[in-house]
Amino acid sequence: MNNKNTNILAIGVGGQGIILASEILAYALMAAGFDVKKSEVHGMAQRGGSVNSHVRFGKQVYSPIIKEGEVDILFAFEQLESLRYLGFLNPNTQIILNNHVINPPSVSLGVDEYPNDVPGIIKERYPHFHLANGLDLAEKVGNPRTANIVLLGVLSRYVKVDEVHWIEGITKVLPEKLREINIDAFRLGRDEG
């Protein structure tokens, strides 16, 4: 990581738990001693709308948003959404793509088609490609709502931060009754995702 900052762009659909996952990520990075900034826009009834969260960390971070072409890791929770952010990527970007499809309204209305083979389109252009199945693993943990934390576990394999700091992040952000299952979810993603 040296002096250069690292840029993670988390994207997906409102309701998938993206902001929460990026919150834990930011705390884990602070616990590991980095300067961290994070930016997202909320306010419109985000349910069902596109969501993105920029996380930047390193020695000193100025801009809270990532410059086009400079994403180091694309952390994508939904297939189609990942295609909206190609302008932020470069050939070295590590892609983590959750193998999940959520139809946008125009597709549900039968006006538009959901694009075919999104993983193929991405993989062809960005060779550092990791396809994950957040929901399957979350069901293995026993709660489909932990899919975001499973995916955070997958992400953790590409971010050089000790496990203890990730757990600190989870502990900081989640209420006590949800910690245990989410730590399980995180570990499953980290080991198997």
């Binding site: 930016s39 826009v41 306010g43 709308g49 801009s63 809270p64 948003i65 959404e81």
Partner: protein, 601 residues
């Protein structure tokens, strides 16, 4: 101790550390979380005020009594509060009075992108602009000091990227409030009759002079000398973008953006070769610096519209257009706008509006999403409470040509914010408008805040609850009816009847927001499509419900291509049981008994 805080959380913390005693606001993106976070500090009296004007007046009263008060609002909220604001500049304060203006360049969730730095100059009130969360906290504290020292309200202005970005903040202990709480009569200062106000105006001008002197020495106006070939004058988030892409240039970073430090600016300008002003929205700094007789480059190369990004700053100054066009994606990307939730009580109402081809004067809230197809049933949206006035104006101007064709639609929180006086106008001036109040028992667009109609305060304490029916009756509306929006047949009947009237009428649609945990009805069972009964008529699709999905049948496909009665069909609907909450609207529209219930929870 260190925390990662958003700008809004940091402002709340700054209020606490400053010993604030009273904090008021009306929710509005991107300012909402300020008051929500202030409720964490039990020492502070906090309230959701009915609107921003009231919020500022309550803050002013607290200040007159010697307490420190913080008032928060979004940029357009300052328009609502502008009446007291301009005269509070004359009265000044006793306890510190700080107004947070959270601007929204790019209109992430707003109806315009006005630049509220102009308000500082217009109202002659100093303004601070933080560039990250640490500064957001510290600047609130400094704002209170300036407010008390210079006897003036003080603005702290953020933008969405400051309000909603998070960065590391050092947490400190609160100071003991410096307030001397007492009631002191001071009519020459607080009673702004012409004779008194006339004497206050020169004091305002004199204060501005003193603030200009402060600006020259203010430690948050900083010169960072580096490569002297290029100098950049900037503030707020623009500073971060510029620093990101040009770390080696020289900077004058302004923390106090009204009034400006003229001497310091000239001193900086003399040391650098080429000067750029990097600021979002209006040429606010640029115009004032040009008046100082300084040549600068600003809006000649930077956009006025929309928010900046590191790339925009880099491209503008380095003169390059987009470095590389990203690769063309081989597929069309369907947009994904936010949508009204499955089961939302508004959906059926908008379906009927659309069906009756009404001109719908709209307002600010979740229901503005009724604009989107397939409902396409919002025809105006301008300002809080605006819908009722629009309907009245149309009715009065068009007379019989508008009769039965116009309806106003407004949410409960918006109605209580500034719809009441408009409704009074309709009654008083013999209007015949029909107004539908969508009462979902919360303020939903900003994330479910309490308001005077919910029966709870911001801290969740039970309180009195305005009765909308009685309120409308009290204003003189003779025809007030309530309706369950999930019963579309009765909605249509009642609406038709009320539209025919020659007098003002109000229909109150009562259905709690589906996201409200406290009022959520027992979860209904999701519905399902009985596939063989579905003939593909698309009636249910016209609701635009996110839980209903249309499947085309490809021409040559035999599978699924006929109904029970062996009729050909082009496609069929399916219901996503993860999203459906069983509101039953689609069932009411289906004429083929193709939508049934499930046993699942």
């Amino acid at each position: 101790m260190k925390e990662i805080l958003s700008g809004n959380e940091a402002i709340a913390r700054g209020a606490y550390e400053s010993g604030v005693m009273v904090a008021t606001a009306y929710p509005g993106t991107p300012s909402t979380e300020i008051l929500e976070n202030i409720t964490r500090y039990k020492e502070i009296y906090a309230e959701w005020s009915p609107n921003e004007k009231v919020a500022l007046e309550v803050g002013a009263g607290a200040s007159f009594g010697g307490a420190r008060a913080l008032v928060a609002m979004k940029h357009v909220g300052v328009n609502v509060a502008a009446d007291p604001l301009f005269t509070l500049s004359y009265t000044g304060v006793k306890g510190g009075l700080v107004i947070i203006s959270a601007d929204d360049p790019e209109l992430h969730s707003s109806q315009n992108e006005q630049d509220n730095r102009n308000y500082a100059k217009f109202a002659k009130i100093p303004m601070l602009e933080p560039s990250d969360s640490q500064e957001a906290k510290e600047f609130v504290k400094k704002a209170f000091e300036i407010s008390e020292q210079y006897d003036t309200p003080v603005f702290v202005r953020t933008t969405t990227r400051i309000s909603h970005s998070k960065s590391i903040v050092k947490i400190q202990d609160p100071i003991k409030s410096p307030a001397q709480l007492e009631i002191v009569k001071n009519p020459t200062k607080l009673v702004m009759l012409p004779a008194n106000a006339r004497r206050r105006h020169p004091i305002v001008e004199e204060r501005l002079g003193q603030l200009k002197t402060l600006a020259e020495e203010f430690p948050e106006n900083k010169i960072e000398m580096n490569d002297k070939n290029i100098g950049i004058i900037t503030s707020g988030i623009s500073y971060q973008y510029a620093k990101e892409v040009f770390p080696n240039y020289s900077y004058l970073k302004l923390g106090l953006t009204y009034p400006l430090p003229e001497k310091m600016i000239k001193e900086f300008v003399e040391q650098v070769e080429t000067l750029y002003i990097v600021e979002e929205l209006d040429p606010y700094l640029e115009d004032q610096i040009k008046v100082m007789g300084i040549e600068v480059t600003g809006k000649k190369i930077f956009p006025i519209c929309g928010e900046f990004s590191p790339s925009i700053v880099k491209d503008a100054i380095s003169g390059s257009s987009k470095e590389q066009k990203n690769e063309e994606i081989p597929v069309k990307l369907p947009p994904r706008p936010p949508n009204m939730c499955p089961g939302c009580g508004y959906r059926g109402i908008f379906y009927i509006f659309n069906k009756l081809k009404l001109f719908v004067t709209g307002d600010i809230g979740c229901y503005t999403l009724g604009f989107l197809p397939p409902l396409s049933a919002i025809d105006t949206c301008v300002s809080m409470g605006g819908s009722i006035g629009h309907a009245m104006g149309l009715d009065k101007a068009l007379g019989d040509d508008a009769k039965g064709k116009v309806v106003a639609v407004i949410g409960d929180s918006t109605f209580l914010h500034s719809g009441i006086t408009s409704l009074l106008d309709v009654v008083y001036n013999k209007g015949a408008s029909t107004i539908v109040i969508l009462d979902n028992h919360t303020t939903a667009m900003t994330g479910r805040q309490e308001h005077p109609g919910t029966g709870h305060t911001i801290k969740g304490e039970p309180t009195s609850k305005v009765d909308l029916v009685q309120l409308c009756n009290g204003l003189g509306v003779k025809h007030v009816r309530t309706v369950n929006p999930l019963d579309m047949k009765s909605v249509e009947e009642i609406l038709k009847e009320e539209l025919e009237r020659d007098e003002a009428s109000v229909i109150i649609s009562q259905s709690p927001c589906v996201l409200l945990k406290s009022e959520r009805l027992i979860p209904k069972k999701p519905l399902t499509i009985i596939n063989e009964n579905c003939n593909g008529c698309k009636a249910c699709i016209k609701l635009g419900c996110p839980a209903i999905i249309w499947k085309n049948i490809h021409k040559n496909s035999q599978e699924n291509s006929v109904t029970t009665e062996n009729k050909k069909r082009k496609g069929f609907a399916i219901i996503d049981k993860m999203l459906c909450i069983g509101c039953g609207l689609c069932q009411q529209l289906c004429k083929f008994e193709a939508i049934g219930e499930t046993d699942e929870q």
